[in-house]
């Protein structure tokens, strides 16, 4: 999969530190963008590329931890490496629990930061890849007709064509036709592929395949 070059975002209110980080990150051949406040970063339209956020805990206005919370609320998923001039244990525990990659006390060893940035970017890459695949599955699922979806649900539950035909009061041949169509539309080569896709969709939650089947048997499939 071809990707954009990763970008490291730096949010620190101190111009000297910002400048230094800018140079360091460029020296390890990564793109870098710096911001002096959390707001500035939030207003910036991020390009579609894997990234990592290097964040000072003590920012004027919104502090780093609140900012982390804010990002999570607005569904901006970006691995965060915290840097702090006087971080205490409580702070670092909170940050790590909320999903931070690392928590480094200033002045830190540059290698620690570089490592943390790489870990962050890798995390983001993996996440983006999974997300892309999931989006594709969702897109394919959206192409299915209501009946095909019903059939798919039964198939991934392990029901036989005969059972499915009986349940929907259609012929076994029709079930086979639906099944062939949906396998084609979902680009599933084997039954195992299809089951895995069904799992992914159900894990996502908001697709709600099973729920849909019980509650609204005849309505068109809903939100994706």
């Amino acid at each position: 999969m071809k990707e954009e070059k990763p970008i490291v975002f730096v949010v620190d209110d101190d111009a000297s530190v910002r400048e230094a980080l800018d140079s360091l990150i460029r020296s390890i051949k990564l793109n870098v963008l710096t911001f002096s406040t959390a707001e500035e970063f939030l207003h910036f339209k991020r390009p579609d590329a894997p990234g990592c956020l290097v964040l000072d805990v003590r920012l004027p206005g919104l502090n780093g931890l609140e900012f982390q919370h804010e990002l999570a609320k607005s569904k901006i998923v970006l691995p965060i490496v915290f840097i702090s001039a006087h971080g205490d244990i409580l702070m670092s525990v909170r940050a790590i629990k909320a999903g931070a990659v690392d928590f480094l006390a200033k002045p830190f060893r540059h290698q620690d930061l570089v490592d943390a940035i790489h870990v962050g970017i890798d995390q983001d890459r993996v996440r983006r890849r999974t997300e892309t695949i999931l989006l594709e599955i969702k897109d394919r699922f959206a192409l299915l007709t209501t009946r095909e979806r019903q059939v798919m649900l039964e198939v991934i539950k392990g029901r036989l064509n005969k059972q499915i035909a009986a349940k929907f009061r259609i012929s076994e041949f029709t079930v086979k036709v639906h099944r062939a169509h949906l396998m084609h539309k979902m680009k599933a080569k084997t039954l195992v592929d299809l089951v895995r896709m069904g799992d992914d969709l159900q894990a996502q939650g908001d697709v709600g395949v099973g729920h849909w089947h019980r509650a609204q048997p005849n309505s068109n499939f809903v939100r994706l």
Binding site: D14, S16, S23, L24, R26, S27, A85, H110, L113
Partner: protein, 389 residues
């Protein structure tokens, strides 16, 4: 301001007054008979001398007066000395000696008080800085972090194939800049904690203001205060103690910052201004848009142990006033419009005022301050600036 000018002039005129009085007494003593106890008036000379001399000077003046008495006695001796005359002379000499002794004692007491108060000021200063430790540590740590990162980045650029000398040079330039920044902070702190006796030196008010703002930089940014320095270019140098004046400013600024914390973020404004208020003094003012001072507090703001803060000691402003007054200036507070407070103080430009700095020491009496002409000028001058968008 009138009273202050008078005081400065008076201090300067005192030696002349003493010499004139001594001469008059000497002439009167010489031309009158021995029985008339003119030399008693030398005590006045000693008392005047005590106003402007240090210990040694007072002793010298006392001895000089005794010598003059004896000299004029020698000159008048041709008339046969009467017993009363001799007794009167002895009484006069005793009076001069006793006055000199008392004047010396007062001088010693004054010095002890002065010493104690300068130590108290030092303690207050260290306490203030103690409260700022976390911020100061952060303030020093920040440039150090930048230096460290720049150093590593520089190594990366040099190790690259081919080495990027331009980037490396930029790193090193930044290292120099950040190291200077860190050491500047360290120097400021060291000066403020040294606890040396106050010295009188030529100072540039604007430099003092800028040096002090270095220390509160973090507080300003952390509390999202918009700070403005309006430093007039034509402020003449003044004579005084750098550390003490910085202490006054630091105290006023920290008070303002604390008061600004209680108002909404967008409307936190702080203005530090310097100006030549008239031909005699420099005016330094700190304007904030904080919660302000109630009119009942305004009267006793500078009183010892009077505080409006829950964790305050009530000595910051008292010490500030002592320092300003010992420099021959005045300090006062007014409400700011539409909101907040203005603290201003004047420092005399006059070269001669330096003599009065250490002599007068600290003053603690609770005097109400007359609002001078300079204040009116300053209010007009600065309110327009603060209300500007």
């Amino acid at each position: 301001m009138v009273s202050q000018d008078f005081r400065v002039t008076a201090v300067w005129a005192l030696p002349f007054a003493a010499i004139a009085l001594a001469t008059t007494v000497f002439i009167a003593d010489t031309i009158t008979e021995l029985e008339i106890a003119c030399p008693v008036f030398y005590t006045a000379v000693v008392l005047i001398a005590a106003r402007f001399c240090k210990k040694r000077g007072v002793v010298f003046v006392g001895l000089a007066c005794i010598t003059l008495t004896l000299l004029s006695d020698l000159l008048t001796i041709e008339v046969a000395p009467s017993q009363a005359g001799v007794i009167n002379t002895c009484i006069s000499l005793a009076a001069i000696a006793a006055t000199t002794y008392l004047a010396l004692k007062i001088e010693v007491e004054k010095e002890a008080t002065y010493e104690a108060r300068s130590q108290l000021a030092h303690v207050a200063r260290v306490t203030t800085l103690g409260g700022m430790t976390a911020n100061i540590a952060h303030e020093v740590n920040q440039p150090l972090t930048a230096v460290l990162i720049n150093g590593n980045a520089c190594l990366h650029w040099l190790d690259a194939e081919p080495p990027d000398l331009n980037e490396a040079r930029k790193n090193i330039t930044n290292i120099v800049r950040d190291t200077n920044r860190a050491s500047q902070i360290v120097v400021q702190i060291r000066d403020l904690t040294k606890g040396q006796p106050p010295v009188s030196e030529w100072l540039r008010v604007n430099e003092i203001i800028l040096a002090t703002t270095v220390l509160i930089d973090r507080e300003i940014r952390q509390n999202q205060i918009s700070i403005q320095t309006q430093l007039s270019d034509n402020v003449p140098p003044i004579n005084g103690d750098r550390v003490q004046l910085q202490q006054v400013l630091l105290n006023l600024l920290l008070n303002s910052i604390e008061s600004l914390r209680s108002v909404a973020v967008g409307s936190r404004r702080l203005v530090i201004a310097s100006a030549k208020s008239n031909s005699k003094s420099v005016l330094i003012s700190v304007h904030d848009t904080g919660k302000g001072i109630s009119s009942s507090d305004l009267d006793c703001l500078f009183d010892p142990f009077y505080t409006t803060k829950s964790d305050g000691m009530g000595i910051g402003l008292t010490i500030s006033r002592s320092i300003v007054e010992s420099h021959g200036g005045r300090i006062w507070a007014t409400p700011n419009s539409p909101r907040g407070a203005v603290f201003q103080f004047t420092l005399p430009i006059d070269v001669r005022s330096d003599r009065s700095i250490n002599k007068n020491g600290f003053r603690w009496e609770n005097s109400s301050h007359k609002i001078g002409q300079d204040r009116a000028i300053a209010d007009v001058h600065l309110n327009s600036q603060l209300n500007a968008p």
